[in-house]
Amino acid sequence: MAQTFAGIDVNLLAALINNIALPELLAWLASLRAKGVTVVSEVDALAKLNMDVDTGNAAGEAALKAHGG
């Protein structure tokens, strides 16, 4: 698995920092936002998955208990 910083591949970050001047970097990020692109990190995606599983399982277990399970 690639090393990440804040869920972003460190190689991508290094490439950005080394090869893109700050104004260009800002323009690129602005263009991503303008296109409505959401870049989802591993950390965020896994956290959302875990949260939804835990929420669903808690509700299911509570209903099981309430119905004699």
């Binding site: 910083f5 950005l16 870049v39 939804d52």
Partner: protein
């Protein structure tokens, strides 16, 4: 400040900026670009979990709050069995990122078996939630 320190400082600023802006886009927009294959797999799994949760919520509402499901709805033992299957499916989606498909399919087949003689059209919300999950898992 030396030129080296200035460079380090600008790099740190750039890293922070990227992290902040990208995390901001995650919260504000609908078009999704996974950062890595692991993120893509988690997003796919989460899509199924969300639908399973919707189906479960509709099922719980349909059964009602009493210890036994409301008359004319579902057999309470089958209701409990379906809930257990949903828990198994969700747990696999969380714990087996590279191999949850077989478990999810088996659990959903068990759900369908429990509901084999159930008239889902009695409750449009439950029926539509069932159809969505069935299509999603059928396409795996």
């Amino acid at each position: 400040m030396t030129p080296m320190q200035k460079e380090k400082r600008s790099q740190l600023f750039a890293i922070t900026l990227v992290a902040v802006v990208l995390s901001g886009t995650y919260a504000c927009h609908k078009s999704i670009q996974p950062a890595t294959p692991v993120a893509a797999a988690a997003i796919t799994a989460d899509g199924i979990v969300i639908r399973l949760n919707e189906f479960q919520a509709a099922l719980i509402s349909y059964c009602g709050p009493a210890a036994s499901c409301a008359p004319g709805t579902l057999d309470t033992a089958k209701f409990r069995s379906v809930l257990s299957d949903l828990i198994v499916a969700r747990s696999a989606l969380k714990q087996v990122p590279n191999g949850w498909q077989a478990t999810v399919k088996t659990a959903w087949a068990s759900v369908k078996l429990q509901l084999a003689n159930w008239n889902g059209t009695q409750n449009p919300l439950l029926a539509s939630a069932f159809t969505v999950v069935d299509a999603l898992i059928g396409a795996l």
